[in-house]
């Protein structure tokens, strides 16, 4: 069922059993899990079904510290959330990612990879990723030319990703609208959370919209699923009962913001051309691989978990760092610039290698262009020189944080400032990863590796190049910990000290691992959904 909250009489009161705030990957995954249950689910979404720049402006904020994307365009505020233009790269975290590592400050989750495994499988369904199988041999049997570099797996192995840019807005609109017990309210932005005296239980939330309406939502359980930055903002800005906000007695809300460093780091030069289909982003073959560092080597060298993606050097030469291309306030324009740059780089590489295409100017549909681009990536992947793009967790850093600023948005909510801060171990780890890959390439007699200039001085672990990209992955800010002193939510994603308030999303990550976050955040959300079901059934 869908209701446009702009059309409700002002000051309406909405009642339900569960209130989910935010209809993106996390919120929709949970809502789907409750379809046809006897419970009334209220799903609140800030935006409508289509992109609306007035709503988008509500999530704007400022950034300081390490250069970042404009906050306004790093998320999409509409039904479906940021899956509206995500790339769909998915891979589960590794065992080590959940462990306490004495060389990574603030590491360690209160759950293990095994706890998440059944939920990863269910997340695969929601994300329409096909078989939950990340075993290379399985995929090589299906696609024989997925050759792997013959490196010592005790040090460097190939980690797999599956790619499917599932657009939740399109995929699940009908199911949600048709579901009898799911009440989707669009143009319903949460602006305040109110609890009982002592704030041990949430009673209601206030929602507003750009039509000037204010409503109240009451429920038994509240799940914040607005994305890591907005979830922290909702908790911090709900300060009418407690100056520090909700769930923030220990000043942890907003802290430990993490991103994935995605940065051009090295070149690999091979003696012989290699058919790198497995490592090509063409999507052909069902999986995509990156060179990864074994748990054993991570321990031995006391480094973070990170991987190296391979881009044919001919293609990489023409690619501009995304952090430079993605600076428009309108995410759609930034996306266009990015695709344009990649297409031009691919065409230049093609022209250089194979000469001009006769019909390269013939008009094509966007779909045709994309298919051509992917085919081109595949073709260029037969080469002897690659640029590597690192994908690495950042060490959890309490000073990397989201705080409230003094400016307010059109609904009167304080805007946020994101101070993104990196640590020395982040840079040292990237360097070590390529030194290890270099050693293994040498040992295997395949070629040699050359690290980019910013990594060459082993005494410099603090300066970063202009083109230091992030992955648009917002993590941390409401981190998971058994101890309320060191985290915002517990192992079930329940806010410490508040019996019916939960957070869904990558904000709960205690560490960020190497893979893109959405598969894990959806798995964690479905696990939370089960937990709330159990709690409701127990009553």
């Amino acid at each position: 069922m869908h209701i446009d909250a702009r059309k409700l009489p002002d000051n309406s009161v909405i009642d339900g059993d569960i209130c989910i705030v935010g209809a993106g990957a996390a919120g929709i995954s949970i809502a789907l899990d409750w379809i046809d249950s006897p419970h009334k689910v209220i799903l609140l979404e800030s935006g409508g079904f289509e992109y609306d720049h007035e709503v988008q402006k509500l999530i704007n904020g400022s950034t300081t510290g390490q250069k970042y994307f404009p906050l306004i365009s790093s998320r999409i505020a509409a039904f479906g959330g940021t899956t509206g233009h995500w790339a769909g790269m998915c891979s589960p975290m590794d065992n080590i990612d959940f462990m306490k590592r004495d060389w990574v400050p603030h590491s360690g989750w209160p759950i293990t990879r095994q706890d998440l495994d059944p939920y990863y499988e269910r997340a695969h369904e929601a994300l329409q990723l096909g078989a939950y199988n990340y075993d290379l041999a399985y995929w090589q049997e299906k696609t024989p030319d997925l050759a792997e570099f013959a490196l010592d797996k005790e040090v460097v192995y190939t980690k797999l990703w599956k790619i499917n840019g599932a657009r939740f807005g399109q995929l699940y609109k009908e199911s949600i609208e048709k579901a009898r017990n799911i009440h989707l309210y669009t143009y319903a932005t949460l602006t305040n959370i109110l609890g009982n005296e002592g704030l041990s239980e949430i009673k209601e939330v206030t929602i507003k919209n750009t039509a000037g309406k204010t409503h109240t939502v009451r429920a038994k359980h509240f799940i914040l699923a607005g994305g890591s930055i907005q979830n922290a903002r909702m908790l911090l800005a709900s300060n009418t009962q407690s100056e520090k906000g909700v769930g923030n007695d220990n000043d942890n809300v907003g802290r430990y913001f993490m991103e994935h460093l995605e940065i051009q780091s090295a070149e690999i030069w091979l003696y012989k051309p290699f058919r790198a289909k497995l490592y090509s982003y063409s999507g052909d073959g069902g999986v995509y691989g990156e060179l990864a560092i074994s748990e054993k080597a991570q321990r031995e060298h006391r480094i973070l978990n990170g991987t190296a993606g391979l881009v044919p050097l001919s293609l990489a030469k023409g690619q501009t760092p995304r952090i430079e291309l993605w600076q428009d306030d309108d995410p759609r324009k930034s996306m266009d610039r990015l695709i344009k740059n990649w297409t031009e780089a691919a065409l230049e590489a093609k022209a250089e290698l194979y000469g001009e295409d006769e019909d390269s100017t013939a008009p094509k549909t966007a779909e045709e262009e994309l298919m051509e681009l992917l085919a081109l990536f595949d073709k260029l992947s037969m080469t002897n020189s690659f640029e590597t793009q690192t994908r690495i967790e950042q060490s959890p850093n309490p000073d990397s944080r989201v705080t409230l600023g003094s400016e307010r948005d059109a609904l009167g909510m304080p805007r946020v400032n994101l101070h993104w801060k990196l640590s020395e171990i982040d840079k040292r780890s990237i360097r070590t990863i390529y030194q290890l890959i270099g050693e293994q390439m040498g040992l295997a007699g395949l070629g040699r590796v050359c690290l980019k200039e910013f990594l060459q001085d082993e005494n410099d672990n603090t300066t970063w190049p202009e083109g230091t990209n992030a992955g648009w992955h917002h993590m941390g800010t409401t981190r998971m910990s058994d101890d309320p002193k060191t985290g915002v939510v517990d192992a079930n994603c329940q806010v410490h000290g508040i019996s019916n308030l939960y957070v869904a999303g990558a904000g709960c990550f205690a560490t960020s691992a190497a893979p893109n976050p959405t598969l894990t955040l959806v798995a964690l959300s479905i696990r939370l959904s089960d937990h709330v079901k159990q709690k409701m059934n127990a009553i």
Partner: protein, 128 residues
């Protein structure tokens, strides 16, 4: 005196050099000048890059600043020439990578053996 010719690519083009295999005098090391060429790198790096790596290596390891010092290190247990020397050096390079005996120079992750060869090649050019 045994003499052997080889071609060393330099920034200015191909330069034919003739290097003495053995020098007269106390303590000098006899070696096949093929050793001056880091075979494992010539197809991947330009002569300029090889020379630059060689110079950096000598800066980093001042103890190895003469042809003799470097050649001695390279040949410690090898007494071969020609293809056999190349094979023996290849083995040494592999061993370096296996044991982590690597050099990180100008961004390149190299075996110490091949870094020494780069250093030797710069000295050989100077002495030519």
């Amino acid at each position: 005196m045994d003499r052997r010719s080889f071609v060393l690519l330099s920034a200015t083009g191909a330069v034919a050099l003739t290097i003495p295999v053995a020098c007269s005098g106390f303590g000098t090391v006899r070696y096949d000048p093929i050793l001056n060429q880091p075979q494992s790198l010539t197809s991947l790096l330009t002569p300029d890059q090889i020379s630059s790596i060689g110079k950096k290596y000598r800066e980093k390891v001042p103890k190895e600043k003469t042809v003799n010092a470097i050649a001695r290190k390279l040949l410690d247990d090898i007494s071969a020439e020609g293809d056999a020397l190349i094979a023996a050096i290849d083995k040494k390079i592999k061993k370096d990578f296996e044991t982590g005996n690597t050099a990180f120079i100008e961004g390149w992750v190299l075996s110490v053996t091949e870094a020494r060869q780069c250093a030797l090649s710069t000295l050989a050019t100077q002495n030519a």
